[in-house]
């Protein structure tokens, strides 16, 4: 086989790969469209109104892991205190912060130390002290040695009193009805649904005061706009489709509600991975299949939580590398599930999808980009293949994203201004030319870091979304 043949075979490989991915996306998209259209114009607020009464609902423990969150923690807690839910407790887990996170909370909420036996159901680093607010008895502060986010969540799990737990990032801002929305499928399914994740939206550009979203807006920074598009596409088109058939492997760490029983059964969060949120969901799925339980993990398309995203390439790069490592770790730890008939559709659809599309995708895409660049010089048949590859990547980069924007406007309509809609649409069409190659490159860097055995999280800098 000469070099020319290799070049042709390689281009065929990329083309076929892209066609497979596009077909998969199209199917998932179709399921999402049907699902979203069904609920079009539904008065969502009324649809969960019943659950605001105590007798219908289930109490929730909200766990907020905090590591050096001095700047934003009070706003986050304030946002939590105004939520519309009958019975809940808030457990802030101070994960050995070196700043004044603890002092700020103790002073702001008049917290006093309490004596309590912690029920050790899952492993976590030792808890030093527990505090309770004198003004708000449902607010607790657990002080523990530093052990990372997963460890802090485990400590919160051990401390929690209620049957449902919610993990929450310290910098998220919740919608007032967030818990009613995500608990709705759990209550309505008569507990067949054991975990539920809500849609996460981007807070940069919104007007947020005292932990409440006053006005939904769009940031000016192109990187943020592209992330808005990316989140919409991932949530609206990916997760709805997967959730419909109980194939969801990710509930975002920023906001997810779990039945404590099943989290404890699965052994809690694993602290030696950077993708602890995905890893837990996979482990629960695995447990369900192994014990032959007919339980479900679902996704709620309604936006429930607003979170800050990186505004500079430096931090976005770190985030994407970490996500990709996290993805690999979860897939690798549970590699046994891949194409294993014992695990049903999870083994035959979800796992291959995450391996082939999500994990290996960046490598194929990057090689596609390199192929395009080389072909520009080589010319001839290579150039024709390069045009094909480019067209296909436009199809699955830009066109799907543009459709996701329109789908959002068609069904959920969260962005109030026409200019926002136009801006999102036009930006989404540019995705293939700059944003997608950037993220593909960073994800490949993540794979490289993984091969080299890097483990750290990488510091993330935040401005704080609430004023």
């Amino acid at each position: 086989m000469n070099l020319q043949d290799i070049g042709v075979y390689f281009s065929w490989f990329i083309l076929i790969y892209m066609l497979v991915v596009i077909s998969f996306y199209s199917i998932v998209m179709l399921i999402s469209v049907i699902q979203l259209r069904k609920e079009y114009r539904l008065n969502r607020e009324k649809s969960f109104g019943d659950y605001a009464e105590e007798i219908y609902t289930k109490p929730i423990s909200i766990i907020v892991p905090a590591f050096n969150e001095e700047a934003g923690i009070v706003h986050s807690i304030r946002s939590l205190l105004s939520i519309n839910y009958p019975v809940f407790e808030i457990i802030v887990v101070n994960d050995g912060s070196s700043d004044k996170t603890m002092d700020v909370l103790i002073e702001q909420y008049d917290m006093k130390e309490i004596k309590k036996v912690i029920r050790r159901q899952v492993n976590s680093k030792p808890i030093k002290k527990v505090y309770q607010s004198q003004i708000l008895p449902n607010l607790f502060l657990v002080d523990k040695d530093n052990g990372g986010k997963a460890d802090a969540l485990n400590a919160g799990l051990n401390f929690s009193h209620y049957p449902y737990v919610c993990s929450l990032d310290g910098d998220s801002v919740l919608e007032r009805d967030a818990f009613l929305k995500v608990m709705k499928p759990i209550i309505e399914s008569n507990e067949e649904v054991i975990a539920s994740g809500g849609s996460i939206r981007i807070a940069n550009g919104c007007e947020i005061r005292n932990g409440e979203v006053l006005k939904i807006g769009l940031a000016k920074n192109p990187l943020v706009i592209m992330q808005v598009i990316e989140y919409l596409r991932a949530f609206l088109m990916g997760r709805i489709g997967l959730s419909r058939h109980n194939l969801l492997l990710i509930i975002s760490g920023a906001f997810g509600v779990f039945s404590k029983h099943w989290v404890v059964q699965a052994g809690g969060y694993r602290s030696d991975t950077v993708g602890e949120d995905m890893e837990l969901v996979v482990r629960i799925h695995r447990l369900l299949k192994e014990t032959r339980q007919k339980k479900r993990i679902v996704y709620v398309p309604d936006p429930v939580c607003w979170t800050e995203v990186p505004e500079s390439t430096k931090y976005l790069k770190r985030q994407r590398r970490r996500w990709h490592r996290g993805l690999f770790e979860s897939l690798w730890i549970h590699r046994k599930l891949t194409f294993n008939p014992k695990y049903g559709l999870i083994g035959f659809v979800s796992f291959p999808y995450f391996w082939i599309v999500e994990f290996l995708g960046p490598i194929v895409e990057l090689s596609g980009y390199i192929y395009i660049v080389i072909s520009l010089f080589a010319g001839g048949i290579y150039l024709e293949f390069a045009i094909l590859i480019f067209l296909l990547s436009c199809l699955y980069g830009s066109i799907f994203s543009a459709f996701a924007i329109l789908l959002e406007e068609w069904s959920l309509r969260k962005y109030p201004r026409i200019t926002d809609l136009l801006k999102l649409f036009l930006y989404s069409l540019t995705e293939t030319i700059w944003y997608r190659p950037l993220t593909v490159f960073w994800r490949c860097q993540g794979i490289w870091q993984m091969i080299r055995g890097e483990r750290g999280w990488g510091e993330m800098k935040r401005k704080g979304v609430s004023r």
Binding site: K38, E39, Y40, R41, L42, N43, K46, S47, G49, D50, I55, Y56, E89, K112, I114, K115, K116, V117, R119, Q132, Q134, P137, N138, F140, H161, I187, E188, N190, I381, E384, F385, I387, L388, L391, L392, C394, L395, I399, A402, F403, L406, E409, W410, R413, P416, I418, L421, L422, F425
Partner: protein, 348 residues
């Protein structure tokens, strides 16, 4: 061949972009129209607000409040909805319902027969919120539809329960037998005492999930009037039904003879031990103290915790727990006693 593929893909692109742009234009026009309608609705709301409030407070329905256009209907709906959430007085509620009936019933009647699921659901939400009794026939017609979602059935039955419809017992015991206990509980919770009693009288003919819902509801009401009913269910049933009855008794916090429940402190079922411990604590039954102290060593954390809590309810409870700390050799019991002594006023 590849050139053909490129041509084909370019054609696909042209088509897709064409579709997307048409969709975009449609959505922009729709958004512009919706924003305009929203403005009109907001204006109507400002104009109508005082008149609607006047009607609700006095019962004097002004002729000038008409809901003859879609925007006015929406404005009216939103205003009435807002007041139905905040008003408490019986007279005001009645006026509000009458206002909704007179101005919006035709609108909802039409919506109930709409082909779109979400339109029917929205109508159901409002009919229930405004307690529009005049639409009960329409709701029953809706329930008879061959293609109906489960959530519509539950909403429809909830509405009938809310207006104390005579046939609700027959509906849930004969026609809708496969709902979960939470769904039944949701429906039954809207019934008044008289209608709930109908379910207690006909308890024996109910399916298990409905039975569980009835017992649960009685526990939630915490009403001593239902004590006999729950006690008899506890005495005459087994399995889940018996545990639920015990739970209801523990919620009511009373029983006519606590002695009957003391043996349960050593039941092999942990839920029974826990609930018996709770009942003993609520009733401050001195004979139960040795049993409760024993339960501080129980293998189940829930039982230990409940035993600790129950002991603190006794006048000398903290002293008892202190003794456990000093004398017990069981570390679980010591820990739990220590925790309940230190619970103090900050208990959640």
């Amino acid at each position: 061949m590849i050139t053909d593929d490129i041509k084909f893909l370019l054609t696909v692109f042209e088509w897709l972009m064409g579709i997307l742009i048409i969709l975009l234009i449609y959505l922009i026009i729709r958004k512009a129209m919706e924003n305009r309608i929203r403005k009109i609705v907001e204006q109507h709301k400002i104009q109508m607000n005082d008149k609607v409030l006047h009607s609700i407070l006095t019962g004097d329905f002004l002729r000038s409040i008409q809901a003859d256009t879609k925007a006015k209907k929406l404005a009216m709906e939103e205003l009435i909805s807002k007041y139905s959430d905040v008003l408490e007085g019986a007279e005001e509620k009645k006026n509000l319902n009458l206002l909704a009936e007179s101005r919006l019933s035709g609108y909802y009647r039409k919506a109930l027969s709409n082909y779109r699921w979400s339109t029917r659901m929205n109508a159901l939400f409002h009919i229930e919120a405004f307690q529009m009794e005049s639409l009960k026939e329409d709701i029953q017609l809706l329930l008879k539809r061959s293609r109906i979602s489960k959530i519509e059935i539950i909403k429809g039955l909830s509405f009938l329960a809310q207006i104390q419809h005579k046939g609700i017992f027959e509906f849930v015991t004969e026609e809708y037998k496969d709902l979960s206990y939470l769904e039944y509980r949701n429906i039954l919770s809207r019934l008044d005492e008289k209608n709930l009693e109908q379910f207690m009288l006909g308890y024996h003919s109910c399916q298990l999930q409905l039975k569980l819902a009835i017992i649960d509801l009685v526990g939630l009401k915490k009403d001593l009037a239902y004590l006999n009913f729950v006690e008899s269910k506890f005495a005459n049933s087994n399995g889940e039904e018996r545990v639920r009855a015990l739970k209801a008794l523990a919620a009511i916090g009373h029983t006519s003879s606590v002695e009957n429940f003391l043996p349960l402190l050593s039941s092999p079922n942990w839920e029974e031990r826990m609930l018996a411990a709770r009942l003993a604590g609520e009733m401050k039954c001195d004979q139960a103290i040795p049993g409760l102290v024993m339960l501080l060593q129980d293998p189940s954390w829930w039982v230990r915790s409940q035993a600790g809590q129950s002991i603190t309810l006794f006048p000398g409870g903290k002293k008892i727990l202190q003794e456990v700390i000093e004398t017990s050799s069981d570390s679980f019991a010591k820990d739990m006693a220590w925790e309940w002594i230190n619970k103090g006023v900050y208990q959640s």
